[in-house]
Each structure stands twice: as structure tokens, then as C-alpha cells.
């Protein structure tokens, strides 16, 4: 290419929204091949959006209080079903995972638990992707499972 053509191409790439070969949203959907931190990123996003949707729905459903006991009872009839309980169990799991992983991310994104810079040598293992900070994610999964079991027990036993 001549220099004029290459300059034009560079200009096109920089100024236009040149998304050629950008992975796009597909780039968000491969949590396994890059390690546990990518899995954490994926779950944090998923649970965050899920909880936001739940929050909006929850604020709306509790507003039926102001219409009196009949409206409240009608709302309970709709939500206190098996499907409603299962949904609530998922909410419990999602909120526990999002919370514990979020605390882990507050620490890691502040540089805690990632090791210190040094002089890398073969096989060039990065210090930041270590099991110490990853264990926060594993604990989040375990706590979410425990919380879901406890929630299921409370919801389905009615106590």
C-alpha cells in the first residue's frame, strides 16, 4: 500500500467504529478457557443483572401494600408458589455469590492478595492469578450453595 492509502486506512480504523474482528458480546461468553478469574467476571455480571431485575420487581410487588390487604394477598398468591420459591432460591444464591465475590473483587482490585512485582522467569507464571485470591471465588460458590439450601428449607417448610 502507498503511504496515502495506509494513512487513509488508519484514519478509517481510528475514526470510524471499525469493529472488524472485534469479538463483541461473544467475547464475554467464554468463561472457561481463560481461568477462574474469567468465570468470576462472568458470574458477577450475570448475577448483577439478575439481581437488578429482581430488585425492580421486588420494589413493584411490595408497592401492592399501599392498595390494602386484598391487593397484598393477591400479590402473595402470585409469588408464594413453587415457581416463586425456586426463583427466590436463585435470588438467594445470586445475591450471596455476588456479595462474597464482590468483596473479593474490592480487595483484589485494590491490589491486595495479588503478590508483588518482581523479576519473572520461565515458565513466566503470573503472580496475580494465584489460588489465594481465587479461593475467594470458591468460597463464594460454597456459601451460595449453603445459602440456597437454607433458603429452600425455610421456604418449603414454611417455618
Amino acid at each position: 500500500m502507498t503511504s496515502a492509502k495506509s494513512a487513509k486506512r488508519i484514519n478509517d480504523i481510528n475514526n470510524k467504529n471499525d469493529r472488524t474482528n472485534r469479538e463483541g458480546l461473544r467475547g464475554w461468553l467464554n468463561p472457561i478457557i481463560y481461568g477462574w478469574e474469567r468465570v468470576s467476571y462472568w458470574f458477577q455480571r450475570l448475577t448483577g443483572i439478575f439481581l437488578l431485575v429482581y430488585f425492580i420487581g421486588h420494589v413493584y410487588e411490595t408497592s401492592s401494600l399501599v392498595s390494602g390487604p386484598d391487593a397484598w394477598a393477591a400479590m402473595l398468591e402470585m409469588t408464594q408458589t413453587i415457581g416463586g420459591h425456586i426463583f427466590l432460591i436463585l435470588v438467594i444464591g445470586a445475591s450471596t455469590l455476588h456479595t462474597v465475590n464482590g468483596i473479593r473483587l474490592i480487595f483484589t482490585q485494590s491490589g491486595q492478595g495479588l503478590g508483588k512485582p518482581g523479576r519473572p522467569d520461565y515458565p513466566y507464571d503470573p503472580t496475580s492469578v494465584n489460588n489465594k485470591q481465587r479461593s475467594g471465588l470458591w468460597i463464594a460458590f460454597i456459601l451460595a450453595a449453603v445459602a440456597m439450601l437454607y433458603g429452600a428449607n425455610v421456604l418449603f417448610s414454611g417455618e
Binding site: 494513512a7 488508519i10 484514519n11 481510528n14 467504529n17 458480546l25 455480571r45 448483577g48 443483572i49 439481581l51 437488578l52 430488585f55 425492580i56 420494589v59 413493584y60 411490595t62 408497592s63 401494600l65 399501599v66 390487604p69 397484598w72 394477598a73 402473595l76 408464594q80 445475591s95 456479595t99 464482590g102 468483596i103 474490592i106 425455610v154 421456604l155 414454611g158 417455618e159
Partner: protein, 143 residues
């Protein structure tokens, strides 16, 4: 590359300098300040939501959802304040998170401005709607 082409090709250059719209150059908060708020509201929400959930467990779950018991909760000023703080903290944290996700999807000026405005409007809207419920329920008279 020459220094001129470096300037022209700098993707991080603020392109809004040439627009005349009044809201184009407004920067209320730096991004680092917004993220500090995001972290603080997240941690704060943890505590208040934990108390909110525990209130459902101090009596049998089904009984805690009866209309009279729920209204009694709302009539307690401290609990009403707790609910208000949950509303504010979670609305800010959640909608800021949504804003982050939406800003990463597209980067045109119109999209970014629309996302910022809609998120703030949604935040205020849901806080207002929830506060309405709290105030009315607090003033509810039983029987």
C-alpha cells in the same frame, strides 16, 4: 508517525469540544469517584440487606408475610429508615453497574449520553416509587 498524526489519531481525545449542546461537557464526577461510591454502596447494602433478611426469620416465614405484620414493620421508624437506605444503596449500586455494562457495549456519544441520563432517571424513579410505598405504609392505620 508525525506529532500531528499522533494528535489526530489519539482515540482518547475528548471529541465533545466542538459541540454546542449544553449537556455535552458536563462531568459531575470523575470515574474514580463514581467507582468509590460503587464500592461503598455495595458494602453498605450488604449490611442493611442482611438485617432485612433476618427480619423475615425472627418469626415463621409465612407469618412474617402477613399483611398486619408487614405493616407493623413499616410503622417502625428505624425499619422504615433501613428500607429507605436499602432502596438508595441498591439503586445506586445496581444502576451504576448497569451503566458500566451498557457503556462497554457501544461508544457513540449519543448512546453514552442516553445511558448516563436514563440510569440517573431510573435511579431517581425507583427511589421515589419505593419511598412512596414506605411513606404510605408507614402512615397506614390497621383495622
Amino acid at each position: 508517525m508525525t506529532s500531528d498524526s499522533i494528535k489526530n489519531n489519539n482515540i482518547n481525545k475528548n471529541n465533545s469540544k466542538n459541540t454546542t449542546k449544553w449537556f455535552s461537557n458536563i462531568t459531575l464526577l470523575r470515574e474514580s469517584q463514581i467507582m468509590k461510591i460503587h464500592y461503598i454502596t455495595g458494602v453498605g447494602a450488604l449490611f442493611v440487606v442482611a438485617i432485612h433478611i433476618m427480619m423475615r426469620l425472627i418469626m415463621p416465614f409465612n407469618m412474617s408475610l402477613e399483611f398486619e405484620n408487614v405493616i407493623l414493620n413499616y410503622k417502625n421508624v428505624f425499619y422504615a429508615l433501613l428500607l429507605e437506605s436499602i432502596l438508595i444503596l441498591i439503586a445506586i449500586h445496581g444502576f451504576n453497574g448497569l451503566r458500566v455494562i451498557l457503556l462497554e457495549i457501544r461508544q457513540t456519544q449519543i448512546w453514552e449520553r442516553a445511558v448516563n441520563i436514563l440510569v440517573i432517571v431510573a435511579m431517581i424513579g425507583i427511589i421515589a416509587y419505593g419511598t412512596r410505598t414506605i411513606i404510605i405504609a408507614n402512615g397506614f392505620s390497621l383495622g
